[in-house]
Symmetry: C2
Subunit: 338 residues, 2 copies
């Protein structure tokens, strides 16, 4: 077996988040849906982008956020995703490089611009997101680097990729390569909208390819088209080795064979921006796994890293997660072996 170089390689949409504060009138005048994520095409994106003052541009993308969190925890990571060699693409590359993450996917030199998510924050602190995938949707099987996948203990894939035909083939390629080298596949279902659009395909991949699944309560229910949370937990049990299901302030549940592990959430007083909570929970959980912690401790670490990300704007950590987690675990009196 090949030595591992990476703890985790993630495959996902390379996206830059463009944050802007707007009034409610801005959304109403343009008939834009509020409080959710909407995929938009190039002209639509251009129109919104032209009208706003971009307050902050920060690298994002679900699977990219997860490896950024892992890198901040001290894990060795790589990212596979597609940008254009434009201004936002260079920003994305700079951020991911600064985080110490290997990112070798060749950028587009022509065609679609780098993917972006325009995040409009209204005075009521709600976030309405308009995502133009752009270059990200050009990710193809050729971009799935066999060497990197073979050298990573875990290949983490975001479900959003299933929305695109090209990227969908890339997902299957990544899964097959990971298993070819005896590695594990982790998968995030990403969003209820993504599940509803791709349920059969997603269930098929989960059942046949996925070892470690990430979802939240609404998503796991949507996956099995049920309102019964416990039923959904029982249905996911035989399909994967480990399912980590987040429940906001109720913490998370880990389903692993005959065990169900309920872990309390961190107590936080002020949620500033919940974007990235799921992505960073996955960072903490996977960090626990690759460092050989128990599943309960993995979930605890996921809770700590998720709590950090929602205490500020943006989905990339603003402190050293490694130090934060070490401090918190000592505070909780965790013995190293548990």
């Amino acid at each position: 077996m090949v030595e591992t170089v990476y703890d985790v390689v993630s495959v996902g949409n390379a996206i830059v988040d463009v944050l802007s504060k707007v009034g409610d009138a801005f959304l109403k005048e343009r008939d834009l849906p509020k409080g959710m994520m909407t995929l938009v095409n190039a002209p639509e994106a251009g129109k919104i982008y032209a009208d706003i003052i971009a307050e902050r541009e920060v690298s994002g993308g679900s699977a990219a956020n997860t490896v950024a969190g892992l890198a901040s925890l001290g894990a060795d990571c790589a990212f596979i995703g597609k940008v254009h060699d434009d201004e936002l693409g260079q920003l994305f590359q700079r951020d991911i490089g600064a985080a110490g993450i290997d990112f070798f996917t060749p950028p587009l030199l022509a065609g679609e611009a780098t993917g972006r998510s325009v995040v409009l924050v209204t005075p009521d602190a709600q976030r309405s997101m308009f995502t133009y995938l752009g270059a990200a949707r050009r990710l193809s099987v050729e971009d799935i680097d066999e060497k990197i996948i073979s050298e990573a203990r875990i290949t983490f894939i975001e479900g959003y990729l299933l929305d695109e035909e090209n990227a969908h083939s890339a997902v299957l390629k990544a899964c097959e390569l990971a298993h070819k080298y005896g590695r594990e596949v982790a998968f995030s279902v990403s969003a209820v909208s993504c599940i509803e659009k791709n349920r059969e395909l997603m269930l098929d991949i989960i059942k046949n390819q996925v070892n470690i699944l990430f979802a939240n309560e609404a998503e796991i229910k949507a996956l099995f088209d049920t309102d019964d949370f416990n039923k959904a937990l029982d249905l996911i049990k035989p399909l994967v080795d480990i399912a980590a299901v987040t429940r906001d302030r109720h913490g998370s549940v880990i389903v692993h064979g005959r065990e169900k592990i309920f872990v309390e959430a961190e107590q936080i007083t002020d949620v500033v921006d919940s974007t990235g909570a799921g992505d960073l929970y996955a960072s903490g959980f996977l960090y626990g796994l690759v460092t050989g912690r128990s599943l309960g401790t993995c979930a605890l670490i996921g809770g700590i890293t998720a709590a950090e990300i929602i205490s500020h704007y943006g989905a990339r950590p603003e402190v050293s997660l490694r130090g934060l987690v070490r401090k918190k675990l000592i505070e909780y009196g965790k013995r190293p072996s548990l």
Copy 2:
């Protein structure tokens, strides 16, 4: 710190179980309570003992059963408890020696006979137990061997000892010595009757001395005088590092800081004799702990060892638990680190 020689030393009542089949009339004629454990004095015990045909005499005692299970799993164990140097006392010593357990407590050479529990099995398969503690109640602080406690990673104590003044002092001595050497104390609350008789004292010991607590659902509720199981779990949480609560066919729950781990029970078709289920659950759980498994796996192993013991008469294992557990864990596809 002193090297450990033992994984677990247990301290408890040294008891021989005397099994006998009787008709319902036997109980009625003597006005004996059915289906529960009753403490009896020497004349009462003598009277019952004289009237029965002792079908089988097998070593028992809660904490002794637990180390017998641990030894069968491959752990290094010692036992501290008091027998008389009589026929039943020699049987007890022979059994515990054959199991490979160190047992150096000097036997009584005069006074009370070896403790025994006369187990009357009626045709409806119910068990009515009449326990004469005898020599067991003479366990004193002098019997708590500092060297053995200092060399054991975990000192396991049965709650039944709190029923006797002498033994109660011995319990405190064992706890203090364990902590003096940086070891851990595991404690079983033993029975609802034992809790009701000693609630304040027991809670005091649990809070100040115990790291790992064993109880079943009825017992943990009795401990906090509540009918609300979840409330009882929340109340035990701050008092100990780990609480392992068994729930018969519903498996067990482990409470550990912010984690609650629910583990399914083994599926068994035929429960022959439930005596020793709690004792052997503790064997499996502690074996998991001393071999560095996750708490979920500890509970799983506890379920496997408990299932073995209730599939036959008597509270000592009839197969190599080590082989059984290894086979079952492979069957469940457990990865060694989980």
